[in-house]
């Protein structure tokens, strides 16, 4: 029971993260190979904002003891702010490989700065002792459940907003940009601004998820946002289903959770890092095999169908069939 209770918030958090990535890539077609950096900013900023003044030999900025929800939103905004800075590299019409290189490079720079400038987020050791946002009077199990409840509520809000956006005129334009940016521009849309919007929404969601992740782990360090971490989320999206938020949730459960938890049940053998290494190999294989066998992921994009009967023509058999 405690085991499931501890898994629930993590599943919800990863769900939030993959939904954010979906907004950028699945819906709008933006390549962001350094998504994890925005998760990190959210984790750090929310973390230090909820902590008090630096203690325990840590050094960091912004120790402000703010209430949790406020800190969370600010963490999301901080991630979006970084997104604004990075955006003018990400959103140009460069070919995919150049974009990939640029985003990874930008992420590396942020990683190096955070690691070296110990005064900002305590350098390579990272921050720890992030306060849990639930009453300490509850038993540990109840605390887990309470936190799980919080994450699920936030997931519900994020999922609702993401669905609404995707199935709105805005979502239609974003998908059009994904399919053909030039044509979308020819229909009067300022595609740069709209891509920026989608990108920043994704960064904000990444920051929210990151903030929750930091609270869950009560600590966060640069080792948590090595470039490879982004690809666990990519694997989740590619397998779960691109351009489908439910698919994103499925992918989040299968990949990060599934992997972490499946290996938990394997006995320890070989050298200590063997399990972790095999997990890495498995993720790599998954990333190679998923596009081969599941080009659209497990859950395909659901297109909005027009059901209304027109006045002039009688209904045809197509109206009752589904794609």
């Amino acid at each position: 029971m405690t085991y499931l209770a501890s898994l629930l918030p993590l599943a919800a958090i990863y769900g939030i993260l993959v939904i954010g990535l979906n907004m950028q890539y699945g819906v709008t077609g933006i390549l962001n190979f350094t998504y994890i950096t925005f998760v990190a900013i959210g984790a750090y900023v929310t973390g230090v904002l909820t902590m008090g003044a630096p203690a325990n030999a840590q050094t960091y900025i912004l120790g402000a003891h703010l209430p949790f929800l406020l800190a969370l939103v600010l963490g999301g905004l901080a991630a979006a702010a970084l997104g604004t800075v990075v955006s003018f590299t990400v959103l140009r019409r460069l070919r995919s490989d150049y974009l990939a290189i640029v985003t990874i490079g930008a992420g590396q720079i942020v990683y190096t700065i955070i690691g070296n400038e110990t005064g900002v987020f305590n350098g390579w050791n990272g921050i720890f002792g992030i306060p849990v946002p639930v009453p300490m009077s509850l038993s540990p199990v109840m605390q887990q459940l309470a936190f799980g409840l919080i994450t699920i509520l936030i997931l519900a809000v994020v999922l609702f907003a993401a669905q609404r956006i995707q199935y709105s005129p805005l979502g239609r334009v974003l998908r059009a940009i994904r399919d053909d940016e030039g044509v979308t521009e020819a229909y009067g849309r300022d595609t740069f601004r709209m891509k920026l919007l989608a990108f920043l929404i994704g960064c904000f969601v990444a920051g929210i998820g990151g903030g929750l992740l930091g609270e869950y782990a009560t600590a966060y360090a640069p080792s948590a946002f090595l470039p490879g971490e982004t690809f666990i989320l990519w694997a989740a999206l590619l397998i779960g289903g691109v351009a489908n938020n439910w698919g994103a949730l499925l992918g989040a459960i299968i990949v990060p959770i599934g992997f972490a938890e499946v290996t938990r049940f394997l006995p320890d053998f070989g050298n200590p890092t063997l399990i972790e290494s095999l997990r890495g190999v498995a993720i790599g294989l998954l990333i190679i095999l998923a596009p081969a066998f599941l080009p659209h992921g497990l859950v395909r994009e659901r297109l909005a169908k027009d059901r209304a009967r027109s006045r002039a023509t009688a209904p045809t058999e197509e109206e009752t069939s589904n794609a």
Binding site: L94, R95, I109, F231, I287, P291, P295
Partner: protein, 290 residues
Amino acid sequence: MSILMLSIGFGLVTASVLAIAGVGLSLQFGVTNFVNFAYGDYATLGAYVALVANEHGVNMYASMLIAGVVVAVFAALVNRLVFRYFIDKRVKLVILLVVTIGVSLVIEYSLQSIFGAQFQSYTVTSPTPMQIGPFLLTSGQLAIIGIAVLCMAGVHLLLSRTRVGKAMRAMSDNPALAEASGIDTRRITDLTWLVVGFLAGIAGVVLAMNTSTFTPLLGTFFLMLLFAVVILGGIGKPYGAMLGALVIGLVTEVSGAYINAAYQDAIAFLIMIVLLMLRPQGLFSSRGRA
């Protein structure tokens, strides 16, 4: 012995390491038209192959050659078994890039599961630095520079004197025209991977020698520097990559000597990002935006 001269000396060594791998990456990108994000890990593979050989008493230079050959074959196999499948299926470039990342992860973590994550090094005697002109270098470092020069010469001969090399250049410049002129693009691609893999293997060993200790993550950080080199020189322009290696090697070492050394790589990344935005075709290339 000024700091400037010392760091220029080190810069030359770094440039040599970058050049060997950079030329390979540039050539591969030019011929196959996609970035292989596992390239750094090909180098790491080479480093570990040489480690195994070295531990069995094979001398360093022979180990290097063995590493080169093993990685060459490996690269060609990965292309045949993995990349070709997706290329023939005409998937979107993004998907292919993600697949190369998958290959990268598989290599890294396979190495880690076999060898563990701890630092390794080759059993070589610690040589003393010698004074060569204004520089202070060890014999190992001089050897690295020498090996780089050899590799550059080899690549130059390949590209300018052999039919295969000329076909590679043709495919790099204008794939459609190359195909139309009757070049067997699949065969040339296979051969390109062999050459590129060989260079990666050698580069990995040389890199490991230069950093003295290494882990399975050796290649991943190295790869980002390689991107800077290749982009600076212009995609698909191996000669440009040689110059790019020189620039990046010198810039990182010299700037690292004067400002916080931890940021020396970050500077290379910054240069690369700025360059990609202002002049994606590289400093030395005349080809337009790819």
